[in-house]
Amino acid sequence: MKHVLELKDLFKSYGKVQALRGVSFSMDHGVYALLGPNGSGKSTLMNVIAGLLKPTAGEMLFHGEPLGAKRTAFYKQFGYMPQYPAVYPSFSVLEFLQYVSVLKCLPDDGGKEIERLLERVELSEFKGRRISALSGGMKQRLSLCSAVLGDPELLILDEPTAGLDPMQRVALRRFVGELGERKTVLWATHIVSDVESIAKEIIFMKQGVATVQENSAEPLEERYLAFFGDLL
């Protein structure tokens, strides 16, 4: 069976430091939570999947095809939301999303889709406003919009709820949960409650090693403490 994304024995080292040590797992439609303390290799793993870093060894397959020279085709089906909002403060909200649409080769410069997404993340009334004038939470939602734009098959979200108020966090969780029904979402976070109810599988990262567990009825916080308890 061909998975949406399959990682096989990924290694990444920075000099003598090994950030990833034989990471292997596969993802299909659904939300995958990526949990781990600081320095466990989460960001490195996401950067390697996004192509921002080259793995030292290992292989990545997208729909069974190796990800190598076919990066451009892959990026047409890929959305990435970095930890800090990657936006141009001098652009207006609408201008920025149109720019991302052009970068993503979307027809009609995003057109209706931008309107729909802005409505979904409650930014419609701010579409003419300069990004520099937006609050941190608004920028975060805009960054999510730019990642989701073009309806990508694989979405990587790095701490997407940082800076959001409780209501917005719930709304975002619901939005990502809906996306997960037909897309593959990898959600990296420190806040276990964000992913507890929507994650299909939990990927625990510890010292560069990934351990995948099915989500279960057992409280995630307890499982988290059980897994990382020795680090406390």
Binding site: A50, A86, Y88
Partner: protein, 638 residues
């Protein structure tokens, strides 16, 4: 085109950059309106027009003479003979076509403007760095890296550089023209270029308008090359400091290259942005013994440089990820980091010392910000630059030194007579040889006789140089005597060069780079707010930064001045420092006293400039806003 439009928007919305460019345009206009320009009087213009035909005829005659001389010494097929043939052909064509200057107004003043070229290059540097750094500033590298068209953004940036360069190349001359038009009025540009006195020897039949179009094109391409180079360095280093430093080095290197003796020295950003130098007279380069016009060689080289840099810029943007950028930066400084680590390992850890704010600031500005590396690099650069452009004592100057040392001391009647006789004799030999050359050309004298006299003629040229300089010294000594001051004969070339030298551009560039980011870190990290609510407030930090500016300003001024002094002394020794300076300046102080005063003045200027840049940084915060204003202030200090 859509991505190009977005890139253009990014450029126009970079904080402060458009306003800064408007300010620079306004400055260019003001320079033209009130700055120092040369507009000849009506009488001078008439005299110039009357003399034009004679001047061209003289050039043709001179080229014919030279051709004859070189044909015997270098051979008929040599480059130098071909060059003379080119001269004869080009200027004879001009003469036959009846090209002659017309009455013009304002154009002489316009072409004597030079500030606009510097401002143009400055805009190109700022554009290249600021637009490339936008992605780093807003952490959008990742956005471009993970989108299908993100890799093409680099090529769109190149288009923006090209459009902006063309805009700058058009607007700066227009601002200059507007200022001159208001000041003197501007006549029609559809007259021969030779109507402008600077282009007396322009070898081509061009109108002022055609030249302006050509000049805008060349300036635009040069500005584009500079912008792409700066953008390339910025995309590699992802650091404002390294980008501005590399750009300053490249431009200073170009300038140094421009001051060298080579014909290709004119292929540097400063000369290319001026463009006047290419058409003020005919210049050519020897390619396999053939004489090729310099403007053609420069054009081809410039295009090749543009293509090469554009390729580098595009490839760098496509292939390098953000992680590698920081690795490069780390690579530059890792040697120091290792050294520091090794040193720390050798000595046992001491209890942390409490430093004064001055020491902390010095440490912060010099060591922690890695400016120490730049300091060392800049000092090396200064040394290399000073060494490569060090004055050279040619045989005539060597003879002058020997004669001066023999005659040094009080100017007696005997010495005065000796100098006068020697000068008259050498001038007579030169005149005789000119007559002999005329006879040789008309076939009255044989080649052997002509060549035999040539050695004597060359010796006379050297002697004329020496004794005319001594004669000038005698005049200055007489003037000093009339003021009641005693002056002496001595070897004065070094002293004259020292006292007449302008400020050190490199020093001011260095101080500007050093202090332009004094407050950038505080503002960027919001530390100024934290410091403001401490008992000592920002006042203590301001004082410490000012003290650092004074200390570093004086130290670097002293270092730069000393290096110049040593190199000058090596070429033109500073003899008899105890003699009165009355023969050079209007003062009875000894020469060493004037030297001490000069050093003091330079130190004060250096410290003042460092303080000014420090203040600008406090007011404006961002280094790219401080740099242009600091540069303009630096020109005033020079």
């Amino acid at each position: 085109m859509k991505l190009f439009a977005f890139e253009w928007k990014k450029l126009l919305r970079i904080g402060g950059l458009p306003k800064l460019c408007i300010l620079l345009f306004a400055l260019c206009f003001l320079f033209a309106l009130a700055g120092e320009v040369h507009e000849p009087t009506d009488g001078e213009k008439q005299a110039y027009r009357d003399a034009y035909g004679g001047e061209i005829a003289y050039v043709i005659r001179l080229a014919e003479n030279n051709k004859l001389d070189y044909a015997y010494t270098a051979g008929e097929d040599s480059y130098i003979v071909r060059y003379q043939e080119d001269l004869i052909r080009l200027y004879s064509d001009l003469k036959e076509q009846g090209v002659a200057p017309r009455a013009v107004n304002g154009w002489d003043a316009f072409f004597s403007l030079s500030a606009d070229d510097l401002l143009l290059l400055l805009c190109a540097v700022l554009t290249g760095i600021a637009l490339t750094m936008t992605e780093r500033d807003h952490r959008t590298d990742t956005l471009l890296a993970v989108t299908p068209k993100g890799a093409t953004v680099g090529s769109k940036k190149l288009l923006v550089f090209a459009a902006a360069s063309l805009g700058y190349a058009l607007l700066f001359p227009l601002c200059g023209m507007a200022g001159i038009a208001l000041r003197y009025g501007l006549s029609s540009p559809f007259v021969p270029l030779c109507s402008v006195q600077e282009f007396l020897f322009c070898p081509y039949d061009l109108s002022i308008f055609s030249y302006l179009c050509l000049s805008v094109g060349v300036k635009a391409v040069t500005a584009f090359a500079v912008a792409v180079f700066c953008g390339w360095v910025a995309s590699l280093s992802k650091s404002y400091l390294l980008s501005f430093f590399a750009s300053a080095c490249a431009l200073a290197g170009g300038w140094a290259w421009g001051s060298s003796e080579s014909a290709l020295a004119l292929v540097n950003p400063f000369a290319l942005s001026e463009t006047d130098v290419f058409l003020e007279r005919y210049r050519s380069v020897s390619l396999l013994g053939f004489s090729v016009p310099l403007e053609a060689v420069a054009g081809v080289l410039l295009l090749l440089i543009c293509i090469g840099l554009s390729l580098l810029f595009t490839l760098t943007g496509r292939s390098v990820t953000s992680r590698r950028f920081t690795a490069l930066e780390k690579g530059v400084f890792c040697v120091f980091a290792r050294g520091r680590k090794a040193l720390r390992g050798r000595f046992p850890k001491k209890a942390p010392k409490r430093h004064s704010l001055f020491v902390t600031e010095l440490n912060k500005q010099l060591v922690k910000s890695h400016l120490l590396v730049l300091c060392i690099a800049m000092l090396f650069f200064k040394g290399a630059y000073a060494y490569s452009t060090a004055p050279f004592r040619d045989p005539s100057e060597h003879l002058y030194l020997t004669v001066c040392e023999n005659l040094a001391g009080e100017l007696t009647e005997e010495k005065r007579l000796y100098i006068g006789e020697k000068l008259a004799r050498s001038e007579q030999v030169i005149r005789d040889f000119e007559d002999l050359r005329a006879q040789f050309q008309s076939g009255k004298v044989s080649q052997e006789v002509y060549l035999a006299k040539r050695g004597e003629y060359e010796t006379a040229l050297e002697e004329q140089y020496v004794y005319s300089k001594l004669s000038l010294q005698c005049q200055r000594i007489d003037q000093a005597a009339s003021r009641g001051q005693t002056a002496y004969l001595h070897y004065d070339t070094g002293w004259l060069a020292l006292f007449e030298a302008e400020g050190d551009l490199l020093l001011y560039a260095f101080l500007l780079l050093f202090f332009c980011g004094s407050y950038a870190k505080e503002y960027a990290d919001g530390f100024h707010r934290t410091a403001a609510v401490t008992p000592r407030g920002m006042k203590g930090i301001h004082n410490a930064k000012r003290l650092v500016a004074l200390a570093a300003g004086s130290l670097f001024t002293a270092l730069f001045f000393t290096s110049d002094l040593l190199l000058l002394h090596k070429a033109f020794p500073f003899c008899h420092p105890g003699f009165s300076a009355a023969g050079i300046l209007d003062t009875a102080l000894p020469l060493w006293g004037v030297l001490a005063l000069l050093l003091l003045g330079r130190l004060l200027l250096g410290m003042g400039y460092a303080l000014l840049v420090n203040r600008l940084s406090r007011l404006l915060g961002k280094p790219y806003l401080v740099l242009p204003l600091g540069l303009l202030a630096g020109l005033l200090f020079l």
